[in-house]
C-alpha cells in the first residue's frame, strides 16, 4: 500500500541485523503501526549475505520489499550496499557503514575488494556514510555496531518520537542496555 514504509537492512551473517530489526519492529508496533518483518539468512550460520526487511504503516500486506521500493537501505557492510541497491527507491536514503568484510573470493586473493563503492553510491543516491565500527570501539564493544546503525536509521526515518531507550531496554540483556543506548544515541548524532 502507498503509505507503507519500507526499511531494508543488509549485511553479513553475525553482524546483528536481526536484533536491530527486532528492536525496530517492537518500537513500531508499540507506536501503533501495523508491522511485518522478514529475514533470510542463507545456508551457513556465518559469513553469508543476509537481509532483513521491516515494513510498517496503516495496514501492511507483503512481508517483503520489492525492487525499487525501499525508503531506506541500511548497509552494515560496504560492499553489501551494491548487492542490494536496486531495492532502493530512486529518492530513497542509503546509510552505509564504512566497514569492509572481505568475502571468500577476496580472502583467497582471487579478486580485490571493489574500490570506490561509497563514491559511486554518493553520486546516485541520498547517502549517509557512518563509521559505526569506530564508534562502537570507542564505546568499548565492537558488537554494538548494529545499534549505532539503528540510531542512524531512526534519525534518517524521522522516527525519533518513539521511546527507543525503553524499547532497547526491553530487547537486550540488562547488562548490555546502557552501552546499547549509548550506541543508539551516537548513531543518531552521526547522521
Amino acid at each position: 500500500m502507498k503509505d507503507t514504509k519500507n526499511i531494508l537492512l543488509v549485511g553479513v551473517g553475525g553482524q546483528g541485523t536481526i536484533l536491530v530489526s527486532k528492536i525496530l519492529s517492537t518500537g513500531l508496533m508499540e507506536a501503533g503501526y501495523d508491522v511485518k518483518m522478514s529475514e533470510i539468512h542463507g545456508m551457513a550460520q556465518r559469513g553469508g549475505s543476509v537481509s532483513t526487511q521491516v515494513r510498517y504503516g496503516e495496514e501492511v500486506f507483503s512481508p517483503i520489499i520489492g525492487i525499487g521500493e525501499a525508503d531506506i537501505l541500511v548497509s552494515f557492510e560496504t560492499m553489501e550496499t551494491i548487492r542490494w541497491l536496486e531495492y532502493l527507491k530512486p529518492d530513497g536514503v542509503v546509510v552505509i557503514n564504512d566497514f569492509k568484510l572481505p568475502s571468500a573470493p577476496i580472502l583467497m586473493g582471487q579478486v580485490d575488494y571493489p574500490e570506490g563503492i561509497i563514491e559511486q553510491i554518493q553520486e546516485k543516491a541520498n547517502t549517509k556514510v557512518i563509521n559505526a565500527a569506530q564508534i562502537a570501539e570507542e564505546l568499548g564493544n565492537q558488537r554494538v555496531m548494529n545499534v549505532v546503525l539503528l540510531g542512524a536509521l531512526i534519525k534518517s526515518m524521522n522516527l525519533t518520537h518513539i521511546d527507543w531507550d525503553a524499547v532497547i531496554r526491553s530487547q537486550v540483556k540488562e547488562s548490555f542496555a546502557d552501552i546499547n543506548i549509548k550506541a543508539f544515541n551516537r548513531g543518531m548524532d552521526a547522521v
Binding site: 500500500m1 545456508m43 550460520q45 500486506f61 512481508p63 517483503i64 525499487g68 560492499m79 583467497m108
Partner: protein
C-alpha cells in the same frame, strides 16, 4: 520447538527423523492427545509412509502436521509443492498467510481434525515461517486427553480394514468439501468486479499488494478439498479471474478441470519464490523505477565453513585423495563441496551419502574401475537415516569408506540436540548414543575415531581405510566451532583458545593455508603474504599444520 519446550504440560521432543516424529505423533493421537508435528517440505518425503496411512485411519485426539515449503530454495535441495501431498493422502489442508493466521489456524486445524476425524496439514512457506507480523492472543482452552479405546478396524490397516477405510475416507472428503464451501477460512472480499483474484498463503499478501482495491478477492485458507462451489460463484461475478499462487498450479488446475476459466501459470512463473514485483510484472507488465548503477561491482559472498570448523580440517585431507568419488549429505559439511576444498561430488538427500556410495562402488567394481568411494555424513544425519544405509553396506558386502563427521551437535539448523549429544529438547540429561558402538553393532569391523584437527592422524586414518578391502568407518569427532561446550565436551576436548599468526618474514606466499578456505586467513596481494584475522581465528591450528615453512605459530594459549 524451543518455545514449546519450557511448557511442562506439553510432551515435546526432537525426533531422529521425520518418519519417527510423525509416528510418535500418530501414537500420541491414537492414545487420545492432541498432537502436532512439524518438518520441512523434504521431511515429509521421509514421513510419507505414516502420513498416507493417517489419511485412512483418521484420529482420536486431533492431529496436525506442519509442512514448511521452501520456494526459492533458500536452504533446500528442491522446490516441491507439498499441497499435492495433502490431496494425494486425502487429508485436509490449511494455508496461513501471516503470523496471526498461523496461530489461529492451528486451533482451527485441531477442531477440524477432531470434528471430521482427519489429519490436517498446515502448509507453510519460507516467507510465512521467516516473517513476523502482529499476533493477538486468544483465551487458552484446556482440552482433556480423550480415552483410548481399542478399535482394530480403524487403527490397524490390514488390507481388509484398509479397504473399508478407503470408502470412509471418500465420504469424509465429501463432508470436508461441504465444509470448505461454508467455512470463513475461505472468504470473499468484494471490491471492483472487473478483476477477481483467487489466492492462498503468502501469495495472497502479494496479490493484495499489487491489485489493492482494484480487484475482488477469494482468499483460500482451506485448500483441500477446494471450495469449488464458492469458487464458481465468485468466478461468475467477476469479468477476469486470476489465480495467484506460489510454485505449482495446485488450485488453478482443479479450477480449470471444473470448467472455470482463469489465468494463472501462463503468466505467473511456477519456479522460484514469488513476490509482488513478479506478480505486478506478470499481470500488468510494469516494473518499478530503480537507480542505474554497476551491479557487477559486488563480489559474491558464498556461505563458508566457519573459522575453526572441524569439517574443514577433515575435508582438507580428504580433498587430497585421488581416484575417489565423494558422496555427500545434508548439513553444514555440504559446503565441503564448494571451492577451495571441492571435496564432494554428490548431495541428494539425508542419509543418501552412505547408500549412494555403496551403489556407486558396486558399479565401479563391476566395471573393473578401482575408484574408491567415500561417503561423508554428519552425526545427526547418521542418526536420521545413515544407520540403515550403513546396514545395507554390511549386508550387501559393500566396500565403501563411510566418514561420520561428528561435530557433537546438529549445527546447521542452529545447534539442536540429537541422540548423540546426551541432552533432550528440554536440556535434560539423557543417554548419549555413541556412534562407534552403533557402527560396530551394525556389523562394521573396521572403525576408527579420530580428531580431525590433528592432520597427521586424519591423513593416516584415510590411508588405513584406503588400504582395506572391506567396508570401514572413520568417525571424525570434534565439536562445532560455534558450539557452546557442555561439561562433557570440555572434559573430552578442552577449550580451544588463542589464535594463530603468520610470521611475514618466513611466509613465502605459497597460499597453501589459503587453500583451506578458512575465513580468518587473508591473502595480502600487495606483499604476497598471508595474514590471520585474530578476531575471527579460534586457534584450531589447521593452517599451522599445513604451512610447509612453519611460518604460522600460535599466540595466547
Amino acid at each position: 520447538m524451543e518455545n514449546i519446550a519450557p511448557h511442562k504440560e506439553i510432551i515435546a521432543e526432537w525426533a531422529p527423523n521425520e518418519k519417527v516424529a510423525v509416528e510418535s505423533a500418530v501414537g500420541a493421537c491414537y492414545a487420545g492427545a492432541r498432537s502436532i508435528t512439524a518438518m520441512k517440505h523434504v521431511g515429509l518425503n521421509v514421513a510419507a509412509d505414516p502420513f498416507f496411512t493417517m489419511g485412512y485411519t483418521g484420529v482420536n485426539g486431533g492431529m496436525v502436521l506442519v509442512s514448511a515449503d521452501d520456494p526459492g530454495l533458500h536452504s533446500s535441495q528442491n522446490e516441491q509443492d507439498n499441497r499435492y501431498y495433502a490431496r494425494m493422502a486425502k487429508v485436509a489442508l490449511l494455508e496461513p498467510s501471516d503470523s496471526q493466521e498461523c496461530k489461529d489456524m492451528v486451533i482451527r486445524a485441531m477442531e477440524i481434525s477432531e470434528k471430521y476425524d482427519v489429519l490436517v496439514m498446515i502448509r507453510m512457506t519460507t516467507r510465512v515461517c521467516h516473517s513476523k507480523s502482529i499476533v493477538e492472543l486468544g483465551e487458552r482452552v484446556e482440552v482433556p486427553i480423550k480415552p483410548y479405546v481399542k478399535n482394530v478396524p480403524k487403527y490397524n490397516v490390514s488390507p481388509a480394514n484398509a479397504k473399508a477405510l478407503h470408502l470412509v475416507v471418500e465420504k469424509k472428503l465429501k463432508e470436508l468439501e461441504k465444509f470448505s464451501n461454508e467455512t470463513d477460512l475461505n472468504f470473499i472480499e468484494w471490491n471492483d468486479k472487473k478483476v477477481g483474484v483467487i489466492s492462498s498463503g503468502v501469495a495472497y499478501q502479494y496479490a493484495k499488494e499489487v491489485f489493492g482495491k482494484d480487484a475482488s478477492y477469494l482468499k483460500l485458507g482451506f485448500t483441500n478439498p477446494l471450495p469449488l462451489e464458492k469458487i464458481k460463484k465468485f468466478a461468475d461475478q467477476v469479468e477476469t479471474l486470476y489465480v495467484v499462487e506460489e510454485l505449482e498450479p495446485f488450485i488453478e488446475d482443479q479450477i480449470k478441470a471444473a470448467g472455470i476459466k482463469c489465468i494463472g501459470k501462463e503468466k505467473i512463473p511456477n519456479t522460484w519464490e514469488l513476490n509482488p514485483d513478479i506478480v505486478k510484472k506478470a499481470i500488468f507488465g510494469t516494473e518499478n523505477q530503480i537507480i542505474d548503477y554497476d551491479r557487477n561491482l559486488a563480489v559474491g559472498r558464498p556461505p563458508t565453513l566457519c573459522a575453526g570448523c572441524p569439517h574443514r580440517a577433515f575435508f582438507y585431507q580428504l580433498s587430497k585423495k585421488k581416484n575417489t568419488m565423494i558422496t555427500g549429505d545434508i548439513g553444514c559439511y555440504t559446503l565441503g563441496g564448494a571451492p577451495p576444498l571441492n571435496a564432494m561430488d554428490t548431495c541428494v538427500c539425508m542419509g543418501a551419502s552412505v547408500s549412494m556410495a555403496h551403489g556407486a562402488k558396486k558399479v565401479f567394481e563391476k566395471n573393473n574401475d578401482d575408484k574408491r568411494v567415500v561417503a561423508t555424513i554428519g552425526d545427526s544425519t547418521f542418526f536420521h537415516s545413515g544407520m540403515t544405509s550403513l546396514l545395507d553396506v554390511v549386508f550387501n558386502k559393500g566396500n565403501t569408506i563411510t566418514c561420520i563427521l561428528d561435530n557433537r551437535i546438529t549445527a546447521m539448523t542452529g545447534h539442536q540436540d540429537n541422540p548423540g549429544t546426551g541432552y533432550t529438547l528440554q536440556g535434560d540429561i539423557t543417554e548419549t548414543v555413541e556412534i562407534e558402538p552403533v557402527v560396530r553393532a551394525l556389523g562394521i569391523k573396521h572403525v576408527r575415531t579420530i580428531n580431525p584437527l590433528n592432520q597427521a592422524e586424519t591423513k593416516e586414518a584415510l590411508n588405513w581405510a584406503y588400504g582395506l578391502n572391506e567396508p570401514s568407518v572413520i568417525i571424525s569427532r570434534y565439536p562445532c566451532a560455534l558450539k557452546k561446550y557442555t561439561k562433557e565436551d570440555l572434559e573430552e576436548f578442552g577449550p580451544l583458545s588463542g589464535y594463530c599468526t603468520v610470521d611475514e618474514d618466513t611466509c613465502i606466499g605459497c597460499k597453501i593455508c589459503v587453500s583451506t578456505g578458512c575465513p580468518a586467513i587473508v591473502f595480502k596481494k600487495d606483499i604476497k603474504k598471508s595474514s590471520i584475522n585474530k578476531v575471527q581465528c579460534v586457534g584450531c591450528e589447521l593452517c599451522l599444520q599445513v604451512c610447509p615453512k612453519k611460518a604460522i605459530s600460535k599466540v595466547g594459549e
